[in-house]
Symmetry: C2
Subunit: 737 residues, 2 copies
């Protein structure tokens, strides 16, 4: 299989044995791991019995391609940045090339092949005339697009469409398109843009995928090997190395879920081509099946279908994206895992490949099973040694509760400075929020759709996240290189019924300050379940100021302490590291004991409560200061501020409670059931004592000792309490433990 | 039929001939206008063949009542305001009395009757001991609740539940409940609270309904007649007079849609009882069928099922409310209008009456037809002489475009000072917004769930609406009495394909200033359809300052003019009439020509453009200043400000355009297609000239002459344009009209 003819390569390079659908005369493709039944039975015209999901996709593609055909072949001189006309037109074109090719395969209708040919001949005229894109903004300029990444995406799509029709061309046309479009594009990506090509980075994955698939199609082993092993074919770069370094052993992609989704497509599509052309590589078994693991992990990194918006992430990205349509189809064809079908059902989309057809058919046959969303620890780093993402879930279905602790590595240039940050989802919403990226993708008026200046000045800063800020400066002083050198350590992770714990520490985010955060999602007798305890300890010899932000969402219902409101002139919180973007609405220094804030979101109440010795200032703020271009969302936050010598611990509780039904005019339990909270540290153990309004008393006791069998004790109000393991809920007022 | 026995009254007072369902021995009720087939065939136990919607309702009621029974009879001493424990418990109790009674009728299970009996005997112990409610906040104190209104609502529900089981009681129990609960409650409402009872107001509708239905049940004609005709039985007050004065001839309720919904339930439920007990009154034909007209009008006053939030309105109120479940069932039983079934389908709820069963059965039988939402003018005032609400709709389905012009009367104490205000809905969202009320209904921590102080200081003020503010003061200086004395005049209303117009004027909102507003929702060649032109003319001899706010929703994408941003210290807009609640983000005085602001909401772009001679200041602001208790939503607005001698006209255009699909990363037409806009007044005619980016030129020409046949002309750039009627779109650049 090493030296394929053009025709065999054609059959192999498209993501399926699929070609048989369109070309019944093609020889049976014995190595094809997918859908031989479809290949055997496929007619040259669309069967009336296409499974519904596939039929929808087919119809959608026909409408799109018909519209494109109606408009003719429009291949403009590149000019605009993201979101601009020429940018969008070249994107439409690669979709049209791919879909028209696939429609040709399915229908055998020559018009589709002719359209792909005409489009690619137009590119053959244009491509050789191009230099760097006029709207480039950095060294990584593309040809057709403002950045080289988009050129790689163009190639990954176009080469798949071309593969479907290349066989139908005259030798002259084929030669012209091969050499003037695909060889040039592959050369541009792999030689002229070698620095990008040889990175260990998602841009390089797209580039290697495009180049490698072009190599398979043109029967050019040199291209293939450079794609797989890097420019120098040493294996120190290239696609295979990327599968080893970009994913952790648990299938976590260092840049975070948003880029994991994006990176996944070239990984899956190129792997599919490798599996077909070089089956002896057993690419889907490579590194303990890392690619299929990564696909499943990508799905785990969602709530309500939306990706956890770590790092530079657009919050409207969900499993309902092109990348995941391809990913699900390819993974299902490899595994026949019925839980992937339920994801396809949620997506309500698939792709026009035999694998997509198989997904649609098996879904229609009722083979779907629920996807097993669950609590899990995803180690980060190529060896799993660079911290982790902890996901704690409780309950089932679209309104279940999920806590995410981001104890992972920096995630390269798109990483945010938010070590040990967390998020909470409940009742279908993001309750404790991550801002994501400051960017309006593809909207020209917003800096050409690129990342906005406020992405640096706000979204990446520590203050924009739910984690500790020391001395008013971001982690690692906001420097990527320093941040990339240090990863947090996951100290403990345990999942038991009614008690889930994640604990991690990071050293080096600030000189001389170690930070340990323990998040406990647990049931507490007398409270609605689950609640979240959060213990953030700064270990330091020196004196520092500590600020702990919580970015919430909802209408403020009740403040449990008197505030000084800045009703007529709101000061700005500070001068840099994101502080310049926060308006101060109100401030308070609650008396010793605890302070609480209750808000309402979509019919559910949330009370955030913090223990204080009387020296913690609470700041209620809103994002939006120093934002002359209205680039930021005007979201609220509460900030706990404390000055301390020799370290400190913030102990807080997030309690969700009650129900507000505006339609039925029913309100239940709109007020917290906690009367008081206090926190004590006893010999390295943390004890949080809650007194409930019904008089009950209960404590969260944390030993920080991961040995589940070890016994621990502490003293509360002169009484000893005892427990086993890292953490426990101990009832006191109702008769002790 | 005038003197019913208790048993006949029982049969009559419940909203159906329904009793037969539970009491098969009951004589056929010849006058029953509804569901004789159900009455004839009904078994004493729930049939397995209950239609699905009714079966769901039955199951839901069983769960609720089982929970209530489990908790026992809990009738607490009244103590708390809205949202508090005793308030909510008494609400739960009246629901339990009603539903348990209905379940008894359906199942014949004595336990349900026993529970109603036990509950009412507990009320018989409590009721005689009660004085004014301790949490009362004004003269209209209730007994069980903080305001008399809730006591009336309690009675309307409880009497229906009682009717279902009264026949099963011993004479002693019946006598005790009759006299200690229902006669006392009726006396409290009709005699002790006579001032409320005799008002022409929705509180009085609930009171008369409760009292009248009690009268029917107890066979007390005196109660019935006082309910129908007022305390003095003169007909100057009471239910019948309310049907004449509270609805306009078009079925519009003066307080607005939110209270129309609320008022509807006692109107419909009591009318249903009247129809049964006093069929000769032909109550549903009274005043040209006003009650059924009002029900249909209530539905027309919605978008996406949500009521237009005029006046004091909570924005989460939709057709999915108890009032409308009853309303639809009763109206359907009267009319068999299949379009009401589609509303029931959207509600996915009904009521446990024979009418509800009929709705469920006919829905299951596939008899539903779409409800005919359409453009319409709803006159306000008992004679239709107090202005109007104009609704302009274009398109179909949940994302259609709807414009609402509020040219109606003040709407009593819940009215806002917003003459000629408007709203726009598009793409499933409220684009140009009305704030609604500042209130968290039933949330105790928010002033006991009552209207908040900010309802007076912000929500009711003119600045909080999309209408003209003169000299920084609200219409009628914010005085209800003055505002109630004046109504706008609807000058013109026309609905033609591609051109819909509402024009109205108001005099007296300000001394010496007349205001005319013309809203045109129209197709414009070269622009996406529809767009909205807005012409607001102030006619005045004197010099005034004029402020025109637009309350939009979305992320600011582009400002078409340079602004001075208050990035580090936002001033407050002003000192009273709502100005104290607005932070100023940015200000600008765009050069002569036009200014534009583009925002993005849910994938759709909106550009608001205004013509200016260079002396109009644009203020970008956000609600939330002087709001120490976080009672206000932090929403954005843009304010056009101008100082002028001898009147002025604001000419604006709202253009919706393009599409942003974050998931597919596709952006289309994110920028306005308008290159320039200007406005001219020529001899009382308004001409708005648009120059499009494609070079085309088009004008909106408004003659203000309602005669559709009259010819008009004007001059644009030296060329004459001509049109007929009130308003027209005239193409200039593509070859004239």
């Amino acid at each position: 299989m090493n030296h394929l003819t053009s025709r065999a390569a054609l059959l192999a390079a498209v993501p399926a044995s699929a070609l048989a659908l369109a070309l019944p005369a093609a020889p049976a493709h014995a190595q094809a791991p997918v859908a031989p039944e479809h290949a055997a039975s496929a007619p040259a015209t669309p069967a009336a019995d296409l499974p519904p999901l596939y039929a929808d996709e087919f119809a959608r593609a026909r409408v799109f391609v018909a519209g494109m055909m109606e408009a003719g072949v429009v291949v403009p001189q590149p000019r605009d940045p993201g979101g601009g006309y020429t940018h969008e037109q070249h994107k439409r074109n690669y979709r049209a090339i791919l879909l028209s090719g696939q429609l040709y395969r399915i229908t055998g209708d020559q018009a589709y092949a002719d359209y792909v040919r005409a489009m690619l001949l137009a590119y053959a005229d244009l491509y050789p005339t191009l230099g760097d894109h006029p709207a480039r903004s950095n060294q990584n300029a593309g040809r057709l697009f403002w950045q080289v990444l988009n050129d790689a995406v163009w190639l990954v799509h176009a080469v798949q469409g071309y593969a479907e029709i290349r066989d139908t061309l005259s030798a002259a046309d084929r030669e012209r398109i091969d050499s003037q479009v695909f060889r040039r594009a592959a050369h541009f990506l792999s030689v002229e843009s070698q620095a990008t090509f040889d990175r260990i980075h998602n841009h390089a994955t797209w580039a290697t995928a495009g180049v490698g698939m072009t190599g398979y199609l043109l029967g050019d082993r040199d291209l293939v090997e450079r794609a797989l092993l890097g420019s120098d074919k040493s294996g120190q770069a290239g696609f295979l190395r990327q599968t080893e370094l970009l994913f952790s052993p648990d299938g976590y992609y260092a840049e975070g879920p948003y880029y994991q989704r994006y990176a996944l497509m070239p990984f899956m599509v190129f792997a599919d081509a490798i599996a077909r052309n070089d089956p002896q590589r057993r690419i889907f078994e490579h590194r303990d099946g890392i690619l299929l693991k990564a696909l499943r992990t990508t799905i785990q990194l969602t709530y309500g279908g939306y990706f956890f918006p770590f790092n530079d992430a657009l919050k409207d990205k969900s499993l309902r994206t092109e990348e995941l349509y391809h990913g699900i189809a390819i993974a299902y064809a490899q595994t026949r895992d019925p839980s992937l079908l339920s994801i396809a059902r949620m997506q309500d989309r698939t792709v026009l490949t035999p694998a997509g057809r198989m997904v649609a058919a098996d879904l229609a046959a009722g083979r779907a099973e629920p996807f097993p969303f669950r609590s899990m620890l995803l180690r980060d780093g190529p060896e799993g040694e660079q911290g982790a993402v902890a996901i704690l879930r409780e309950g089932e279905g679209p309104r279940h509760t999920a806590l995410v602790a981001k104890n992972s590595s920096q995630g390269m240039g798109h990483g945010h400075f938010d070590k040990l940050s967390w998020q909470l989802y409940d009742n279908g919403h993001e309750i404790v929020r991550d801002y994501g990226a400051a960017r309006f993708l593809n909207i020209e008026a917003k800096e050409g759709g690129r990342y906005l200046p406020e992405n640096e000045t706000w979204a990446k800063q520590t203050l924009a996240h739910n984690t500790l800020v020391v001395d008013g400066r971001s982690h690692f002083d906001g420097k990527v290189r320093a941040a990339s050198a240090v990863a947090p350590e996951q100290l403990h992770f345990s999942v038991e019924p009614g008690l889930q714990v994640s604990s991690a520490r990071v050293d080096g985010a600030y000189p001389g300050v170690g930070i340990v955060r323990t998040l406990v999602m647990t049931d507490v007798p007398g409270l609605e379940s689950p609640v979240v305890f959060d213990l953030v300890t700064a270990e330091s010899e020196g004196t520092h100021s500590y600020d702990l932000p919580l970015h919430y969402q909802g209408a403020v219902i009740e403040l449990g302490f008197p505030v000084e409101s800045h009703v007529a002139a709101r000061p700005v919180l500070g001068e840099g590291h994101g502080y310049q973007h926060v308006w101060v609405d109100a401030e308070a220094t609650p008396a010793a004991g605890d302070g609480a804030l209750t808000w309402l979101l979509d019919g559910r109440f949330y009370t955030y409560r913090f223990a204080t010795d009387g020296a913690t200032r609470a700041v209620l703020g809103q994002v939006g200061a120093n934002d002359p271009d209205f680039n930021l969302r005007r979201e609220p936050l509460v900030l706990l501020c404390r000055e301390s010598a020799g370290g400190t611990t913030f102990a807080t509780l997030l309690e969700s409670h009650g129900r507000y039904d505006g339609a039925a005019e029913q309100t239940v339990a709109s007020r917290s059931r906690v009367a008081a909270m206090r926190h004590e540290r006893q010999g390295g153990k943390d004890i949080v004592v809650l007194t409930l309004k019904d008089g009950g008393q209960v404590a969260l006791a944390v030993s920080h000792d991961p040995d589940p069998g070890a016994r621990h004790s502490a003293t509360v109000d002169g009484r000893e309490i005892a427990w086993s393991g890292f953490a426990a809920i101990v009832e006191i007022g109702r008769g002790g433990n």
